[in-house]
C-alpha cells in the first residue's frame, strides 16, 4: 500500500469514529509523546544501532509530527502515522549515510527490508529481539554462535574468540559473514 493511500484510508477511518476533540494542544502532545516515544525510539534504534543517531532521528520525527498535529487523528492512527514519518526519516538518513543511489534504496525498501508492518492495523514492527531470534534460527551454527556471543551476550572479540576456539581475526571474518547472511535473510523477509 502506498504511503498516500495508507494515509487517506486512515483519515477516512478516523473521521468516521472520532469527532473533533476539544482537548487542547498540551494534552494532544502528551498523548502523542507519552504513548509513542518509547516505541518510535526503539524502532529507530533498531535501524541505526546507536544512541546519538537514534536521538537525532527521533527528535526529527516528533518535531515533524507536532508541526502537523491533527486533532482528529485517533490514538491508533497517530501511531501508524508516526511510524510512516519514522520510516521516511530513516530512509532519508540512509540515503546520505550509505551514499546509496535513491534507486537502490527503493529496491531495498520495496524488497521488504522495512518489514511487513505497513498495514495500518498493525503499525508496530516486532521488537529487535524477536527479529534477531528469527534470523538466528535460520543461520548456520557458527554464524549463530558468533552473533549470539558478540551481540546478545555483548562479549568482546577476544572473549568471543576464546569461547569459540578461534583467533580474533577469525572472529572478525566470521561476524562479517554472519551479518552479511543475516542482512540477506532479513531482506528476504525470512
Amino acid at each position: 500500500m502506498s504511503l498516500r493511500k495508507a494515509r487517506s484510508v486512515e483519515n477516512s477511518q478516523m473521521r468516521a469514529k472520532d469527532p473533533p476533540d476539544p482537548t487542547h494542544d498540551g494534552e494532544r502532545l502528551q498523548r502523542l509523546y507519552e504513548d509513542n516515544l518509547h516505541v518510535i525510539y526503539r524502532f529507530i534504534y533498531s535501524k541505526v544501532g546507536n544512541r546519538e543517531e537514534a536521538e537525532d532521528l527521533t527528535s526529527q520525527v516528533f518535531i515533524k509530527a507536532v508541526r502537523s498535529l491533527d486533532s482528529e487523528r485517533a490514538t491508533a492512527s497517530i501511531q501508524s502515522w508516526l511510524f510512516q514519518v519514522a520510516r521516511t526519516t530513516i530512509a532519508d538518513h540512509w540515503r546520505s549515510f550509505y551514499q546509496l543511489r535513491a534507486r537502490s534504496l527503493d529496491d531495498l525498501l520495496e524488497a521488504g527490508w522495512e518489514g511487513p508492518a505497513e498495514s495500518a492495523g498493525n503499525p508496530a514492527p516486532a521488537p529487535p529481539q524477536d527479529q534477531v531470534r528469527r534470523i538466528l534460527e535460520r543461520l548456520p551454527d557458527h554464524y549463530r554462535e558468533v552473533l549470539t556471543y558478540r551481540f546478545l551476550h555483548n562479549l568482546s572479540i577476544k572473549e568471543t574468540a576464546l569461547r569459540m576456539g578461534l583467533s580474533e581475526a577469525n572472529v572478525k571474518v566470521l561476524q562479517f559473514r554472519a551479518l552479511k547472511k543475516a542482512g540477506r535473510l532479513e531482506l528476504e523477509g525470512l
Binding site: 494542544d25 534504534y45 548456520p140 577469525n170 543475516a182
Partner: protein, 278 residues
C-alpha cells in the same frame, strides 16, 4: 594478527566454496563500525556501499539493538525532547504552568545528573536549603490527594493497560503511574520523594528510577534495596474503573493562594509535595 591468517581454520565447509570477493578492509571497516555502535556513538560514514554491504551494516544495527538494554531511551533525552516539543507547539495557558513546573524539575534533573558536586550546590540554591528530610514522615503523605480535596479524572482506557502493565499519566497538576495488578489498577505519584524530580519507569528492572540522584522505587512504590537512600515511599493515588476508563483522584491546578506562605516549600521546589502547583 590479520584477518587472513585463517587458512588453518576452516570457518565452515560452505565458506570454502564461496568465491568471496571480500577484503580485509571490509572486515575491519565493519568491525570498527560495530565498536562505534557498542559505544552508542554515531559511526563515521562507511563510504559508498553496495546495497548488499548496506544490508550488512543494517543487520549490525539490528543485532546491536537486540543487545539487552541497548535500545532504552535516555531519561534526559526524553525530558529535553518533551520540552522542545512543547515550545514547538506553543502550549495553551493552562498547560503553560505545567510546562514551567516540569521544565523546572527536568532542568534540575539535568543539572544534578550531569555536574556532580557543583551541581549539588546549585540545586541547594535552587530549591532552598535543601536536602529535604526524606525520612520525615510528615513530608510525604501516604495518599497524595485525600478525600474531598480533589476530583476524579479519566486517564486511560482500562483495556489499554495489560495485566502487569504500567502507564504514565499527566493531569493538570499531578504526574503519576498507574499499574494494572492482579488486584486492580493501582496508581502512584510519579515524583521522587527526594527532591521531586520526575521518575521514569524501568520496564526491565520493574522499578521507578529517578534521573537526578539515582533514587529507585519498586513497582509498589517503596524505596528499592538498591536505591542509594531509602527515601519515603511514593504517595498513592486513588483509582477507580468506570465506563471502561481508569480514573484517578487528583488535585486541581491551583492559582497561588495569597493566604499561604509565599516561601516555596523546599521539599517540592514550590508547592505541595508530589504535585505541581503553578
Amino acid at each position: 594478527m590479520g584477518p587472513h591468517d585463517d587458512e588453518d581454520n576452516p570457518i565452515s565447509p560452505d565458506e570454502a566454496k564461496t568465491p568471496s570477493a571480500e577484503t580485509v578492509e571490509q572486515y575491519l571497516r565493519l568491525h570498527d563500525h560495530i565498536e562505534q555502535l557498542r559505544q552508542d556513538k554515531r559511526p563515521p560514514r562507511p563510504g559508498k556501499l553496495s546495497p548488499e554491504e548496506a544490508r550488512t551494516y543494517q543487520a549490525a544495527a539490528l543485532f546491536h539493538a537486540a543487545t539487552p538494554g541497548a535500545d532504552e531511551p535516555d531519561p534526559e533525552f526524553i525530558s529535553s525532547l518533551r520540552e522542545r516539543l512543547e515550545q514547538e507547539i506553543g502550549v495553551s495557558p493552562t498547560t503553560k504552568a505545567i510546562r514551567a513546573a516540569r521544565a523546572r524539575v527536568s532542568r534540575r534533573g539535568l543539572i544534578a545528573g550531569g555536574l556532580g558536586a557543583a551541581a549539588a550546590a546549585a540545586v541547594g540554591v535552587a530549591v532552598g536549603n535543601a536536602l529535604p528530610h526524606p525520612s520525615s514522615p510528615t513530608a510525604w503523605p501516604s495518599v497524595l490527594v485525600s478525600d474531598g480535596h480533589g476530583f476524579w479524572q479519566a486517564i486511560a482506557r482500562a483495556d489499554e493497560i495489560p495485566l502487569g502493565g504500567v502507564k504514565r499519566f499527566v493531569t493538570e497538576a499531578v504526574v503519576g503511574f498507574v499499574r494494572h495488578t492482579r488486584s486492580g489498577y493501582v496508581a502512584l505519584s510519579g515524583a521522587c520523594t527526594h527532591m521531586g524530580c520526575l521518575l521514569s519507569w524501568n520496564g526491565d528492572m520493574r522499578t521507578f528510577d529517578c534521573p537526578c540522584h539515582g533514587g529507585r522505587f519498586t513497582e509498589d512504590g517503596h524505596a528499592s534495596p538498591d536505591s542509594p537512600v531509602a527515601y519515603s515511599p511514593l504517595p498513592t493515588i486513588r483509582t477507580k474503573v468506570e465506563g471502561g476508563q481508569v480514573w484517578v483522584y487528583v488535585a486541581k491546578a491551583q492559582t497561588p493562594d495569597p493566604s499561604q506562605d509565599s516561601t516555596p516549600d523546599p521539599n517540592s521546589g514550590g508547592g505541595v509535595p508530589g504535585y505541581y502547583v503553578p
